[in-house]
């Protein structure tokens, strides 16, 4: 079996100025100035070469590794972080060898001084002239900083979720204390219901780290009697494909649906046992993205008379929603039941700085 032996081709044995000498000198300069650790492995998983970055990463010198004459795994990867021994047979890097080209993954290595550190690796097979695999090149980088950054991000998101919910609860409490005995119970109930609708939408968003919300979850959340309840299928028909909504769309849409729900329960289809509400939606191509076309249809309710004054709900739906999303809204108080048609472009919604944070553009 052929194996590498780079130790025999060291610079002093080559004639200074020869082409091989220059090539070797150049390659050494590349390898030893690379910030990624590079290991050259033979077919027994013994390390036969490592660059300077690899020595810094592991704490071992190339000479030490060569002297040990054992699989590299047993030198830098021999123990699980919980202290159990880590046999070579269980090693993902070893398993990657030799079938897969550019196998990537994350592992936790053990430094010479005993501390554990997370690494990202890429393993690529080396073949001889007959395409037989005779070794592997493994690139390894320390990802301690990336792991720490991801953890900080997770903690910050948790803190954000916590504070948003607490702030909503605080606002609710301030309102309750402020208006105690000074306003009628109906106004208080309306206010509390709106706060709960807002809070429920934030539940959907926090579950998704504020990146987006499922359209179906938003609709279901809005028509369910409370946060943990199932949608009453005897009264609601929800028909449409799921998609991802930008947080702003999710919040405004949920508030709009909440207002329609409240109106239906007070005056519309949900004010009588036999009334039903259909919510159906389609996603239509628009520009480079999609547009949500959603229709709310009430049937089986008492005859509808147009309201004498336009309140918060119709103002939010008919005016704010089109302004906020460059869409349109059409609220009809038909005698057979309220019909509300919403058209909301879902294109190009992101948040300021999103590319910098997530490394990608919205949608």
């Amino acid at each position: 079996m052929q194996t590498f032996d780079t130790t025999t081709t060291t610079l002093p044995t080559l004639r200074r100025g020869s082409q091989l000498y220059e090539t070797e000198r150049r390659l050494n300069a590349v390898l030893n100035n690379a910030s990624v650790a590079i290991f050259l492995m033979d077919d027994r998983q013994h390390c036969v070469y490592m660059n300077r970055a690899a020595e810094l990463l592991t704490g071992f010198s190339l000479t030490e590794v060569l002297t040990r004459d054992c699989p590299l795994h047993d030198i830098v990867h021999h123990t699980y972080p919980d202290g159990r021994p880590f046999p070579l047979a269980e090693c993902a890097i070893d398993r990657a060898f030799p079938e897969n080209n550019q196998e990537r993954g994350e592992e936790v290595f053990v430094h010479k001084d005993g501390h554990f550190y997370p690494v990202g690796f890429t393993a690529s097979p080396i073949r001889d002239d007959e395409a037989r695999i005779i070794g592997t090149i493994i690139e390894v980088r320390d990802i301690t900083e990336e792991k720490a950054a991801a953890e900080r991000q997770r903690l910050l998101t948790n803190e954000l979720n916590h504070r948003v919910k607490n702030t909503l609860a605080t606002v609710q409490s301030i309102a309750a204390q402020t208006f105690k005995g000074k306003t009628d119970g109906v106004a208080r109930q309306t206010f509390d219901a709106r706060m709960v609708a807002l809070s429920n939408t934030h539940n959907v968003l926090t579950a998704e780290n504020w990146e987006s919300a499922s359209l179906r979850s938003v609709v279901e959340g809005a028509v369910a009697p409370h946060a943990l309840a199932e949608v009453d299928t005897a009264r609601f028909d929800l028909v449409g494909p799921d998609t991802r909504l930008h947080p702003k769309v999710a919040v405004t849409l949920a508030m709009a649906l909440h207002e329609l729900m409240t109106n239906a329960a007070k005056y519309g289809a949900l004010s009588v046992p036999e009334g039903r509400v259909g919510v159906s939606w389609t996603l239509e191509p628009e520009g480079s993205g999609e547009r949500l076309d959603l229709v709310w249809t009430e049937t089986g309710g008492p005859p509808v008379a147009p309201p004498t004054r336009r309140g918060f709900g119709s103002r939010l739906i008919e005016r704010q929603l089109p302004l906020e999303f460059d869409g349109s809204a059409d609220l009809t108080f038909a005698p057979t039941g309220v019909i509300c048609r919403l058209r909301i472009p879902l294109t190009a919604l992101g948040w300021h700085g999103q590319e910098r944070v997530t490394g990608r553009v919205a949608r």
């Binding site: 939010l316 302004l323 919205a362």
Partner: protein, 149 residues
């Protein structure tokens, strides 16, 4: 009389519920209100609408309202920023612009809008010294301080 009676105010605010609150406060102060919630519409209004003053929410979701500020500045229409971030959330080039802290409060809004009325509108062109009772326009003297985006 608030002195703001009949003043035409552009309100740029990207959150529906907050925009409703801001609009109601301005209406209560006797102003006429144009609401824009998206940058393109806000810029169009800043360039063409008949306006006396403006309130600009700095953060418009995926963008910022600075292009609106630049359009208003070109026409000499005074404005204030609204932000929940405090002064540190504003680009340094705009640090002479008065900032209204969120959440909106009608007293603060009224005080800052009145303050705008006491300032003389800057002349067309870029004359550095203005007979202005406050430091509002005087600090912004050249187009080099104004972002073009």
């Amino acid at each position: 009389m608030s002195g703001l009676q009949g003043r035409r105010v552009l309100l740029v605010e990207d959150e529906s519920l907050v925009a409703m609150l801001g609009e109601d406060m301005l209406l209560d102060l006797g102003c006429e209100v144009e609401v824009a919630m998206r940058l393109d519409k806000a810029v169009a209004l800043a360039r063409g609408a008949d306006l006396d003053m403006a309130i600009l929410d700095v953060n418009l979701g995926d963008t910022c309202s600075y292009p609106v500020a630049d359009a208003l500045f070109e026409r000499g229409i005074p404005f204030i920023f609204a932000t929940g971030y405090g002064l540190s959330g504003i680009e340094p080039a705009y640090n002479a612009i008065p900032v209204m802290q969120k959440p909106y409060q009608v007293a603060q809004m009224e005080r800052l809008l009145r303050h705008l009325l006491t300032c003389k509108t800057p002349p067309r062109g870029n004359m550095p010294s203005l007979p202005c009772g406050c430091s509002f326009w005087a600090k912004i003297v050249g187009p080099h301080q104004i972002r073009a985006d």
